[in-house]
């Protein structure tokens, strides 16, 4: 029972990450009709916003390290700590939350620049061209990040106060032994908040209504005098922010490296397709569903019956869904069937 509860929690957590990435991908696809293979790279850039914040906050004074005698080595003391003492350390400790403040404008700008500079010219090109050019962009972005930050993962720990685990079991009567990391709970909450925010924006604001209308029928919206293109540009920026926040918040769970975007990319495409191309609800549902299934497949009891199932479960589910429900769980007719 305990372990099943924890695995569900794990799955939701993982699903939260999938759902956020897939949501951004679907927003872009649903509005602009562009299959964006650079989406994973944007996620990675979000993570590196956190790394950059960390680097900025811990920008250090170099002091000669006397303990190393063979060569000139330096100890680093962050200026923030020199200037502000404990307050400085406190700020450094809270770098991940702070980096969201950096990530929002940065990701928005990156998104807008990408749409204006590149994606815009590919609306009327075949999907294959879109895939290829954004794939090329993804490679370029990740190689640039690699040349700046190196190839190894860079740890960006969560604030010390939430570094440990919550004794979640005692809250719901499963006993003290059932614990779950604070940061993962925060991540899950964050994912739910961001997802709700996106849906509320689309559902309850006029701007959102226009975007929804545009996703369904951009021509008619244009015939009503609305410059849907400009709004879609903003949506692209928004999708970048959504996935950027997902990236920032994920850093304490997975130390970011330049390649993490590619690792998520294939998976997020599977999620989007399982959910149904162009369906935002589908992306979220499929994200959580695949997360939970993946989590269960990793249980020893299940692996002992089907060896290797944890390695293929996501793809297996994708195949089954696509064969039984041709347009994914919640897909619409006529999307991407040309």
């Amino acid at each position: 029972m305990d372990s099943i509860f924890l695995q569900i929690l794990n799955g939701l957590d993982k699903g939260g990450a999938y759902a956020l990435i897939a949501l951004g991908l679907t927003l872009v696809f649903g509005t602009l009709g562009v299959v964006n293979f650079a989406h994973g790279a944007i996620f990675m850039l979000g993570s590196f916003c956190a790394v950059t914040t960390q680097n900025l906050l811990t920008y250090s004074k170099k002091v000669k390290d006397e303990s190393i005698t063979y060569f000139e080595a330096f100890k680093e003391v962050p200026y923030l700590e020199i200037w502000w003492g404990d307050t400085g350390s406190f700020i450094i400790d809270y770098k991940v939350p702070f980096s969201i403040l950096l990530a929002i404008p940065v990701m928005l700008l990156i998104g807008l620049a990408m749409e204006r500079g590149l994606i815009r010219h590919f609306y009327n090109r075949p999907h294959a061209d879109q895939i290829l050019v954004t794939f090329g962009l993804a490679i370029v972005i990740q190689e640039i990040v690699k040349s700046i930050y190196g190839a190894n993962p860079i740890p960006v720990p969560a604030p010390a106060i939430v570094a440990g685990s919550a004794s979640i079991g005692s809250w719901i009567g499963l006993g003290e032994s059932v614990v779950y990391p604070w940061w993962r709970l925060i991540y899950l909450a964050n994912a739910l908040v961001v997802i709700s925010a996106v849906f509320s924006f689309l559902k309850f604001t006029t701007y959102g209504m226009v975007v929804r209308a545009g996703m369904q029928d951009r021509e008619t919206v244009g015939l009503l005098g609305i410059d849907i293109q400009r709004r879609f540009t903003v949506v692209f920026g928004m999708a970048s922010v959504v996935v950027g926040i997902a990236g920032v918040m994920y850093t304490p769970i997975l130390s970011p490296d330049y390649h993490m975007g590619m690792d998520f990319l294939v998976l997020s495409f599977v999620v989007v397709v399982v959910g149904g191309m162009g369906s935002l609800e589908g992306a979220v549902v499929a994200g959580f569903m695949l997360g939970v299934l993946q989590s269960f497949a990793a249980m020893n009891e299940i692996k002992s019956i089907f060896p290797g199932i944890d390695q293929i479960i996501v793809y297996l589910v994708a195949v089954i869904i696509l064969l039984t429900r041709p347009r994914g769980l919640m897909g619409r007719k006529g999307v991407m069937e040309d």
Binding site: V35, L118, H121, R125, H127, A128, D129, L132, V133, F135, G136, L137, A138, I139, V140, E143, I144, S147, M262, V266, F269, V270, V273, M277, P307, G308, Q311, I312, Y315, L316, A318, V319, L322, L323, P326, R327, M336, E337, D338
Partner: protein, 377 residues
């Protein structure tokens, strides 16, 4: 679309054969004339040409084609291990098994089209890769890759030849298949494969495939059953991939799981589109270019650059090295990514498409009279 006359076809094939067979000579100035890279050019050329039969003709974008490459390799290495070091059975097994795999995967995946088809093939490839890497290790030898061993069975060889002290070499009735002979073996198969692709493209079957590409829906309405055609195209292109995989094992008897990873499937897509999808020579050109980048660009390091620009004064030399070094050596992926973007943005038809465009403009410049003459001759 008009077809080339049979005679023109043969002429073109002759030219093509000469170009391929003389690669060891005309590639010398490019620093690419060594057996391994030449073999890779030929092998990945076959892979890309085969992929083009599916993608270029029918428009079905398979994102899991590398799985057939992997199956071909495994089958070939098993043929070496179990039966004989002769490459003929290995090639046959490679093609056969990848054909069977293609039949199974195609049967399921071709129920869907568009991106759904792509994702289905991708899913199958990733499943195969993950299983080959871990659970199927008894068959695939996991991460290390399937290798030959001294104590392999080699049933047929065992009947005729005394086992030597070292590992036996792959051979074609005694001609060892590494180095230049290996290249010529692959090159001959490339020429044959290319000719077959050409024949397929210009056959009624090829026409039907192209019709599927231009309008699947309408063909469905007219009661024309597209499935058998698509299925055949998928299997043929899978078998091309299997042949390429088997040849990889022939020239270098090792089969690794990473050959099936999605990035490997992506690579062949990139090759095809880079060179020019649907064109005859495009995929070959794309394959050559990517392999050239992978092997030659990655090998440049600062010392080598310094040497290359040593004719310049020191200041300029350092400047040039500084400018270029981020794009070579460990930066070769950056160059590749950048090149893709440039080509896709400015040459939607790939390199061959671009050349065709330039050629057409040139022909226009030469005047309509030449055009007329050409038409009547």
């Amino acid at each position: 679309m008009d077809t080339i006359s049979r005679k023109g076809e043969l002429r073109m094939m002759a030219l093509f054969a000469v170009i391929v067979l003389l690669m060891p000579i005309w590639l010398i100035p490019f620093g690419a004339a060594y057996p391994d890279l030449l073999q890779k050019f030929a092998i990945f050329g076959i892979f890309a040409v085969g992929f083009n039969i599916l993608f270029g003709l029918t428009g079905y974008l398979s994102f899991g084609h590398a799985v057939f490459l992997g199956v071909g390799s495994y089958a070939a290495v098993w043929s070496f291990k179990l039966f004989t070091m002769n490459v003929i059975p290995a090639v046959i097994f490679g093609v056969l098994f990848s054909g069977i795999f293609a039949a199974v995967i195609g049967f399921v995946s071709l129920r869907r089209s568009g991106i759904y088809f792509s994702i289905l093939t991708l899913a199958f490839a990733q499943m195969s890769y993950n299983l080959a890497y871990s659970v199927l290790t008894p068959i695939t030898n996991g991460e290390t890759g399937l290798q030959l061993r001294l104590h392999d069975l080699r049933m047929i060889d065992g009947l005729f030849i005394e086992a030597g002290e070292g590992l036996p070499l792959t051979n074609l009735f005694g001609i060892k298949m590494s180095g230049y002979p290996g290249f010529y073996f692959c090159a001959v198969l490339l020429i044959l494969a290319f000719y077959l692709a050409l024949r397929i493209k210009n056959s009624p079957f090829g026409m039907a495939l192209k019709a599927i590409k231009s309008n699947q829906l309408r063909m469905g309405y007219t009661g024309f059953n597209t499935r058998p055609y698509l299925m055949s195209a998928f299997m043929i292109s899978g078998m091309y991939a299997g042949l390429a995989g088997a040849l990889l094992a022939v020239t270098d008897p090792l089969a690794g799981a990473e050959r099936m990873q999605w990035t490997a499937s992506g690579e062949v897509v990139l090759m095809t589109i880079l060179g020019g999808v649907g064109t005859l020579f495009g995929p070959l050109l794309g394959a050559g270019l990517i392999k050239y980048f992978e092997n030659i660009f990655s090998s440049y390091n600062d010392a080598l650059l310094q040497e290359t620009f040593s004719f310049l004064p020191d200041m300029l030399n350092n400047l040039m090295v500084g400018i270029i070094s981020p794009f070579v050596g460990d930066g070769w992926h950056l160059t590749l990514g950048g090149l893709f973007m440039v080509i896709i943005i400015f040459l939607p038809g790939g390199i061959v498409g671009g050349i065709t465009m330039v050629w057409r403009r040139y022909m226009k410049k030469r005047g309509a009279s030449a055009e007329m003459e050409g038409e009547t001759s």
